[in-house]
C-alpha cells in the first residue's frame, strides 16, 4: 500500500457489518465526485464487502491494505 492523499476520513473501528458499509455510504453521499474517503475498519468481513459494495455502486477503491490490525480503504466517489 502506498501513501495516498484523501479528502476526508471515517473510522469504523469496532463496528460489525452492516455498519462499516452503511456509514461509508452515508459519508460518501455528502462528498463530491472524484473525492477520496479513507475508511478504517476492524471487522474482517469488510475486506470483501467494501470492494464488492464499491464496485456495484460505481465507486473505486484506489488502494487498500492492512495496518496494525486495521483495514484501510481509499474509496473514490464515482457517478
Amino acid at each position: 500500500m502506498t501513501q495516498q492523499t484523501y479528502d476526508d476520513e471515517l473510522d469504523c473501528s469496532g463496528m460489525n457489518c452492516p455498519l462499516p458499509v452503511l456509514k461509508t455510504k452515508m459519508k460518501i453521499d455528502e462528498m463530491t465526485k472524484g473525492a477520496v474517503l479513507l475508511v478504517s475498519t476492524t471487522d474482517p468481513g469488510s475486506c470483501k464487502d467494501m470492494p464488492a459494495w464499491a464496485s456495484r455502486v460505481g465507486h473505486k477503491i484506489v488502494d487498500s491494505g492492512e495496518v496494525d490490525g486495521r483495514f484501510l480503504f481509499y474509496v473514490q466517489k464515482g457517478e
Binding site: 460489525n16 455510504k25 468481513g45
Partner: protein, 382 residues
Amino acid sequence: MAQSYSAAELYEWIENGASHIYLDVRNEEDHSRFAVEGPHNIEMRNIPYFDFIEAPEQASSHLDPESSVRVICAKEGSAQFVAEVLESLGFIDVSWLEKGIISWGNLLIPKRIPSPDNYQLWQFNRPGKASCSYGLIHADEMMVFDPSRNIGFYSDFATQRDLTITHVFDTHLQADYISGGPNLAKISQAEYIVHEGDFSGSDIEFRPIVDGERIQFNNSSGPDILCTHSPGHTPGSTTFVIDERFMISGDTVFIVSVGRPDLGRKVVEWAKELYRTLKTRICTLPENLIVLPGHYTDWDLESTDDYLILNDFGTVKRMNEDIYEIDDEDQFVEYIIENMREQPEVYDEIRKVNAGFIDPDEDEQDIMDLGKNECAASHMVS
C-alpha cells in the same frame, strides 16, 4: 422488530419442506463458497446486504412482500438489518438467523438409529458439512465417533442424559474438518482412540488401535466395537464394527462412492492400499451390516425416509457396482485417477490442527472449518 430464528429451526424448515424464501445477504463470493443446503431443495436468493443499503426498494423488488423471508448473513447484524428494511417496506413475515452462517456450519442434528433395546445408537448429522458423527450409549456410558469441533454439543448431550463419555474415536486423521476428538476426550477424561498409521508423530495423546481388537464399555457388558484397520483413504483409516450389526465406516465406505485415496498426494500407493482393503477387509464383511458413513453428498440417494444417512452393506455394494466390481488393482487405480479432483488448500492446514501441530484461534478455526467436504472418490450423482 423482526424476529430471529436459530440454525436448528432453519434445518427443521428445510427437512419439513417449509415454503420459505431463504435470502443470503452475504457477498457473492462467500455465498458461492458456502451456502445453506439441506435434505430438500430450497428457494435460495443471494442479494448482498449492501444492495439494501444503497437502494432498498430496488433490492427487494424481486421478492414477494407476502412471502415468508428467512434472512441469512455472516454474523447476524446484516441479516437483522435487512430483515428490518424489508419490514419497513411492508413485508409481513421476515426473520433473521441468530449467530449467522457459522452457527449453521456447526449445527448438529441428533437422530436415533434403530438398534436392539439394550443400547442406543445416534447419528449426529452436520448438514453444513454433510458429515456425520456418532454416539453409542450403553447404561450410563457413551462412546463418541468422529466428533466435530462443536464439542459442547456432545458433552451437553451426555450430561442431559446423565452419561459419562468414556471413549472417543476418530476413524482417521480428518482433512476436511477440525476434529473435536482430542478436546472432547480431554474434557471428558476419556480415551482418544485412533490408529497410529495417521497419528504417530503427531502432538496428540492417544491410545493406538490394534487391528482386530474388540473394545468394550467400561462396565464391560453391552455391544463391543471390533476395530478393523482399513487403510486407503488414509494409512490409519479404521472401520468400527458395532455389535456385528453396524459399521462406522468413516471415509472408507460411503453410501455413494468410497473415500478418495489421493488426499495424501501418494495416489497410486494409497489407491492400491484402498483396493486391498476393499477386497480383503471390507467386502468380506457381512452384507447385512448397516453402513454408517462419515460423509454424504446427496440426500436423495443416501438418506432414509427418516433422514438418516445409512443403508445395508449389500445395497451399498449394488449402488456402487462400478467400484466394487473392479477386479484388477491397476484398473482400480485408473478409476481413482480418472475421478480425481483438486483438494481444497485448507485441507493441509486442517490436518495440522488435527495432528496438534498448530492451534489457530477460534475465529480462524471457524473459517477453516466452513465449506463442504471433498472426501468422496467420485461424484457419480447425476
